[in-house]
Symmetry: none
Subunit: 145 residues, 4 copies
Amino acid sequence: MKAQSSEGVVRFSVSVPKELAKQLDRMAREKGYDNRSLAVADMIRAHLVEHRQNFGDQEIAGTITLLYDHHKQHVQAALTDIQHDHHTAIVSTLHVHLDHDNCLEVLVVRGKAGLIKRIADKLIAAKGVKHGKLTVTSTGRDLPT
Amino acid sequence: MKAQSSEGVVRFSVSVPKELAKQLDRMAREKGYDNRSLAVADMIRAHLVEHRQNFGDQEIAGTITLLYDHHKQHVQAALTDIQHDHHTAIVSTLHVHLDHDNCLEVLVVRGKAGLIKRIADKLIAAKGVKHGKLTVTSTGRDLPT
Amino acid sequence: MKAQSSEGVVRFSVSVPKELAKQLDRMAREKGYDNRSLAVADMIRAHLVEHRQNFGDQEIAGTITLLYDHHKQHVQAALTDIQHDHHTAIVSTLHVHLDHDNCLEVLVVRGKAGLIKRIADKLIAAKGVKHGKLTVTSTGRDLPT
Amino acid sequence: MKAQSSEGVVRFSVSVPKELAKQLDRMAREKGYDNRSLAVADMIRAHLVEHRQNFGDQEIAGTITLLYDHHKQHVQAALTDIQHDHHTAIVSTLHVHLDHDNCLEVLVVRGKAGLIKRIADKLIAAKGVKHGKLTVTSTGRDLPT
């Protein structure tokens, strides 16, 4: 690596199209980063998190977001059954009553990537769920700052 | 920008934690990139696509997931300040203590898409946040089942 | 009030049985207070919170804790119906799957004391709820520190 | 104790915020106490009763409710440190931003009763916490329905 190391930090250079570099700088400013390096470091970490979730054995943390109408026959019972079947992987669930009909449920999950994906798939496929999404992050141990 | 331009390409340098640079190189190899610059350029483009998504006036619900080390100087105070500045848009926040160092924080948010995006950007760019993600869903009213 | 004021703090003296004072000091130590005044101030605030919840019009914040077996016929649907009927008073609900059968649900509530009590009564009385409790605190505005 | 004893009674002085002293006097009047000392003595006794409740080895679940002003110096860092020291007993924490200043934090806890009580004591005694309360329930296993 052509990089100067100092106290755990390395400096390396990259070549990118001029216009892309300009847009990177504008985006970093708009997002509120103090400098370009901090923005690039955040991008690398974000891509590492996504890259690793493809390995089923990797321990991950994350959230499963579910939107549903609690009046739909049995949707809530179905969701709770699935969740209790996997209660060791589901740390806790935050439920927000959006209005008289709509529920937003956010599960904090933790476990092997493969298992977490299967749980998310089951929940999102459950009848009555309008929209669902698995958001993967890391447990933080393998993500340097 | 302190960078040498040649034929539409610029060269600039970034400083990142040593271990992060190593993991970047491993990931770039695993993904089949010829060199690190090509990998970083792709990351920038991917983030630009997300950043440019049109966040307008429509009312959305969603979550902001944040991973951070609570020992990092001031990170928690900074996050709380930003959250209280926008306390009407943040319904509630679920905090999970992953281990002695790492915190997973999930904010349930609700409001105009543009505002939610700006809040997420600020939180994710805050120094000490290792990984953050905005997950958008609907308030359910405009989503038929 | 026979008390010396200095920068928003007043000093006043109280007479209590000798043995009670000794036990107060021991308890303050055991609970980790730096000094007796801090312990007494906390006690006063705790009693103010309880005292005020008797006024139905007072704005309070608080939690409703519910323990139930989600397999019991309809308990969850009943709880959700009640919660959605009062979705403006219920900020959000945290659900923890204790084991295959038992659920712990914590509702964060906010509103007039009288209404909050009625909601808690209904939820706790619902068939299938093993144990329930309303914990009242203040919204913080009227509680000096 | 710097206090004058006479016939089994001791006199000692405490320092509390001015506004809190005023509210104490109003509450004492409303509750029908002849003087402030009698009201304070009753509060101490009430807290002793709670403090002495036998918290043993049995496994409990419960919540710790905390109200605080996040602007108070270091209160949040202190609370997070205590929580991470006991992260195995704290399942998750729900945080609600009540207004620009006040935070309501609800911890779902699980573990041996004695440990849970000690964690609650530490958190509630932390400087800057306006009001705190431990609400105990069962894990549901030993509670027949």
